[in-house]
């Protein structure tokens, strides 16, 4: 099993390589996914483009008060960055739970997004933060909302000649409160059963700017549209939260029974976890 490996050093070289390969080729970043896929025989690419040396893709910088994260940034890069902790604290929190140290040292944001696994720990955060994904090709660059980017089960809007160049996390709205919770199969190094990320403000006693993302409850990370709709503009009282979280668990979750958990568990736990998280945000505990 010896695919041809192309080792670009610049973004331009990487984009040229993309033009030269067949649809059976794969992109290699940190290898935490692809190397396992190749070794197990589940994937047999004829060519692999190794992006690891494309330094242009590994950065964290201020942009319009927000944060632009190069696609090759690792979870470790996020954890070590004061800027990331300030601008995208929720993403840093999620990155800390992607896996154990060895995995965090290699797993990249671009890799995570490109794989678009329904169990992604980072995806829900990007939905909650209204992140944008920049795609580049030799034809130019375009930026999509995370919603436009992530189209379905392990599917994205990335064209075969495009690379994920970066993710943009907008500037934090003053007064924004953010919370994240992952329910896994054990305390560390686990595939998620449920992931929730919630962002909200309380303006003059009213819930505003409510955005929520969830994972492992559907075939992709998604926005909890019902939760947002039910909470936006409402008073942050117990009855509202109970009603909104129940409605969301019923409508937003497309949970299934699988090897890891049950649909019933995911739905109920989603409701409870959202409920607790929202109350914690309301009480300013986070």
């Amino acid at each position: 099993m010896n695919p041809t490996v192309i080792g670009p050093r610049t973004l331009e070289e990487a984009l040229r390589a993309l033009q030269d390969v067949t649809p059976d080729s794969r992109l290699l970043a940190g290898g935490t996914d692809l190397m396992v896929e190749i070794e197990s025989g589940r994937t047999r690419p004829d060519a692999v483009i190794d992006l690891w040396r494309v330094k242009e893709l590994r950065y964290l910088r201020d942009e319009q008060g927000g944060l632009r994260i190069g696609a090759l940034s690792t979870c470790r890069d996020l954890l070590d960055s004061a800027l990331a902790r300030e601008r995208a604290d929720l993403l840093v929190l999620a990155a800390d739970q992607v896996g154990a140290e060895q995995i965090k040292n290699r797993a990249t944001l671009g890799g995570n997004l490109g794989t678009a696994s329904p169990a992604s720990d980072l995806g829900p955060v990007l939905f909650a933060l209204d992140a944008r994904v920049r795609l580049v090709s030799l034809r130019g660059a375009r930026e999509l909302s995370i919603d436009e980017f992530w189209t379905g089960y392990r599917a994205t809007a990335r064209a075969s000649d495009e690379l994920i160049e970066s993710v943009f996390v907008p500037a934090r709205t003053p007064g924004e409160r953010r919370g994240f919770r992952k329910v896994g199969t054990r305390a560390a190094q686990s595939i998620s059963k449920l992931v929730v990320a919630i962002v909200l403000r309380i303006d003059h006693g009213t819930l505003r700017g409510v955005r929520a993302g969830a994972g492992s409850i559907a075939d992709k990370s998604l926005r909890l549209a019902t939760l947002e709709r039910e909470l936006e503009g409402q008073r942050p009282d117990a009855a509202t939260v109970e009603r909104a979280t129940r409605a969301s668990a019923l409508a937003d979750a497309r949970a299934i029974d699988d090897v890891r958990s049950s649909a019933a568990y995911r739905r109920r736990t989603l409701q409870r976890v959202m409920h607790t998280l929202i109350h914690e945000l309301i009480e300013g505990a986070r």
Binding site: R186, S190, I191, R272
Partner: protein, 728 residues
């Protein structure tokens, strides 16, 4: 009690530097790579194979059933398991053909180019529906039926319960593997690999190749964990590798990757245990009627012995005049189940301990006090009517655990509040050390010690080291018995051409049985060498120089006062028992029902801790496996195939899933054990799970009777009690 000096592991330096050679580390020039073609259905008839014509099969060697020179059988208790299945497929992943190739890449291509043609049939996957019984047995004491019949309903209660445990994967971190060599000029076949029982492997090779056992040489490599999972399966793997080596004429490495290991090697027997208990008003156990059902999987393998141990332990560490235990282990088309630390005892211990908690609830009695009322003490008789004459640490263990935790005054199952519920639970248990009944007498374990010219003592035993501390423990015993320096005691390699058959390294027997033979052998050798003021090594050197006979071999003889009747299953089931009690503290989230075990306190009577640090290590490790068994380790199957087929999905506890451990070692010596030592390897596995389940019950007020107590299961139990919470 004087605490023994902690010795460093003899093999320690090699382990911490990475120099220790495990099976896959062995460098063999020109070795080929071996693999297996397996069935992809749980039941069916093998019609043949399709060989892809695009692959050049002349480059590889294929071994099939007809290539087996001796008998196509895995030597075990009953001759029902073929080494290679020729026609009737009985489980998913059953080995059909073996392939050896000069490199790993070619092997992969070859295996992908061979497809078995199988006419699948309906498998039997439900142990409760299976009518094919591998073994059944009955243990009777007193008269259970008469006790129930004459029960006065006003002063007695009848408590019933049904308890289940799912299977569990051993997950030794080193997958199974062997290197086999083609027969040499003398016709000797050599295998070198990861195992617990070299002589089991030798016996299997002898039968498969139709050779004298002396012509099968088995060497144990450093072995990365076993826990029973490498008790019988290595015989299969070694014979596979040897068959390929023989046919190809090359050494063959067969090292399983994790995926294959998870899919086809034996796991813990699933169980269903039913209890019906007659209890007096003061909480005294008056009669215990117990039914034990185990799933053995497709072939007999070790199931009769697992059933035996399960039944003997099914009534728990308690005194009761009327006991009936009926047990059976049945066949299904699951991958054969096998040995895993505890060997039937963890399953039945879970059941009886949960039953005791159920009794405590119905009587409003503290669970520890209920145990204390009924626990076996010196002079009492067990379910098999064994009178416990000595080394019964039940009272000491109980005193210690209550002293440390005050569980006897803990308001167990008092209502709790809060989103994170805390709970504390209790278990009390025992575990027989050594083989059951006449097993040790039949085994005739042998150990030798021999002096070399330098005056060092070499211990020769087939007992293997795979983490539990065999080498250190032997060194400690021998040094003490000889009056020698520990550095002057060496342990010979586990090579069947050099060491006598000490029996398998299982059943918590290595210290008590083999260790006692070793102590005896060393005592004799020391007497032969003679006393003196000079260090032992000098005296021994002089003794050897004088042509003194430097070798003593001892064969195990059962203590004369032990009697066991195999026909009635009555008598002295084990020479001695270890005793223990666990108190587990948990936190359970009402949001997610995730369980966090925060603390585990355990008091353990081991007779004598030859090496306390090592004993603690065994207790901590075994307890964490039990915690995993209790709530974390999920193994399920569909159509007879395990769904958790890689490490990412077949999970075990990480360092963050581990409680703070508090281990109290207690020593109530056993006169026939070396310096009073009994066994400890399996004991901690028995009580951890019911203690955690008991703690969950305290936290949530629900009765856990099915392991693992996953968040999904706990949620269902909670919602059954709080139906108003169901909105979906």
């Amino acid at each position: 009690m004087e605490r023994a000096v902690t010795l460093q592991r003899p093999e320690g330096p090699d382990k911490v530097t990475g120099r220790a050679l495990f099976a896959s580390d062995l460098k063999v020039e020109g070795a080929w790579f071996g693999g297996t073609v397996r069935s992809d259905v749980a039941r069916g008839e093998l019609l043949g194979f399709d060989f892809d014509p695009r692959f050049d099969f002349s480059r590889v060697t294929i071994a099939e059933p007809d290539d087996i020179p001796g008998r196509n059988l895995v030597a075990m208790i009953v001759d029902d398991q073929p080494l290679l299945c020729a026609r009737d497929i009985e489980h998913w992943g059953e080995p059909l053909l073996l392939v050896a190739a000069p490199d790993a890449e070619l092997l992969r291509s070859a295996l992908a180019s061979i497809k078995p043609r199988i006419e699948a049939s309906e498998p039997q996957l439900d142990m409760e529906a299976s009518e094919r019984v591998f073994k059944q047995l009955e243990i009777i004491k007193g008269d259970v039926d008469a006790a129930f019949a004459s029960a006065d309903g006003s002063s007695t209660h009848v408590i019933e319960g049904e308890y289940r445990t799912d299977t569990q994967e051993q997950m030794y971190i080193e997958p199974q593997g062997f290197i086999a060599f083609p027969p040499d000029s003398q016709g000797t076949t050599l295998v070198h690999g990861s195992m617990q029982c070299p002589y089991y492997v030798q016996k299997s090779l002898a039968r498969v190749f139709g050779i004298d056992p002396g012509r099968a040489r088995v060497i144990q490599a450093a072995t990365g964990g076993g826990f029973g999972g490498k008790e019988d399966y290595p015989s299969v793997l070694a014979c596979h590798a040897a068959l390929l080596a023989r046919k190809s004429g090359h050494p063959v490495r067969m090292i399983y990757d994790r995926h294959e290991d998870l899919a086809v090697t034996p796991k813990r027997h699933p169980s269903r245990v039913r209890h019906r208990t007659l209890v007096g008003r003061d909480g005294t156990l008056l009669a215990m009627d117990i039914d034990v059902l185990l799933d053995g999987g497709a072939y007999t393998t070790l199931s009769p012995v697992v059933l035996s141990r399960a039944c003997i332990h099914a009534a728990g560490a308690y005194r009761c005049d009327n006991v009936r235990i009926r047990g059976r282990v049945v066949a299904t088309n699951h991958v054969p189940y096998g040995a895993f630390r505890g060997f039937g005892a963890p399953q039945v211990c879970f059941a009886v301990e949960r039953q005791m908690d159920r009794i405590a609830v119905s009587f409003g009695m503290n669970p520890a006090l209920l145990r204390q009322r009924n626990m076996l003490r010196v002079g009492d008789s067990t379910a098999t009517s064994q009178v416990l004459r000595q080394s019964v640490g039940s009272e000491e263990v109980m005193r210690e655990i209550l002293g440390r935790t005050s569980f006897d005054v803990y308001p167990w199952r008092a209502p709790k509040t809060g989103r994170i519920r805390r709970g504390v639970g209790f278990s009390f248990f025992f575990h027989g050390a050594g083989f059951t009944g006449s097993g040790e007498q039949m085994l005739q374990a042998r150990v030798a010690v021999e002096l070399d010219r330098e005056g060092r003592a070499i211990v020769q035993s087939a007992s293997t080291e795979f983490g539990q501390g065999t080498l250190t423990m032997f060194r400690a015993i021998a040094a003490r018995a000889l009056g020698a320096s520990p550095e002057d005691v060496l342990i010979g390699d586990c090579d069947t051409s050099a060491v006598p058959n000490s029996g398998p390294t299982v059943a918590s027997r290595t210290c008590m049985i083999v260790g006692s033979c070793l102590a005896k052998a060393c005592g004799e050798l020391a007497a032969r060498v003679g006393p003196g003021t000079a260090p032992f090594r000098e005296r021994a050197r002089a003794f050897v120089a004088r042509d003194g006979d430097p070798r003593v071999e001892i064969t195990y003889a059962s203590p004369p006062d032990l009697h066991w009747d195999d026909a009635t299953y009555r008598g002295d089931a084990y020479p001695a028992y270890g005793w223990a009690a666990d108190v587990a503290e948990v936190e359970v989230s009402l949001d997610s029902f995730e369980v966090r075990v925060t603390r585990m306190v355990t008091a353990v009577d081991v007779g004598k801790a030859i090496q306390p640090q090592m004993v603690e290590g065994q207790i901590e490790g075994g307890s964490l496996q039990a915690i995993g068994f209790a709530h974390l380790e999920v193994v399920t199957s569909q159509d007879g195939r395990f769904l958790q087929d890689r490490m990412a999905t077949c999970i075990i506890p990480t360092s963050l899933d581990t409680p703070e451990f508090e281990v109290a070692l207690i020593e109530v010596p056993f006169e026939h054990g070396p310096y009073g030592a009994k066994g400890v390897g399996e004991l901690p596995m028995d009580g951890g799970a019911p203690a955690v389940a008991s703690a969950i019950e305290d936290a949530l007020g629900i009765h856990v009777d099915h392991l693992p107590a996953t968040p999904e299961r706990l949620m269902e139990l909670w919602l059954a009690q709080h139906p108003e919470e169901v909105f979906f």
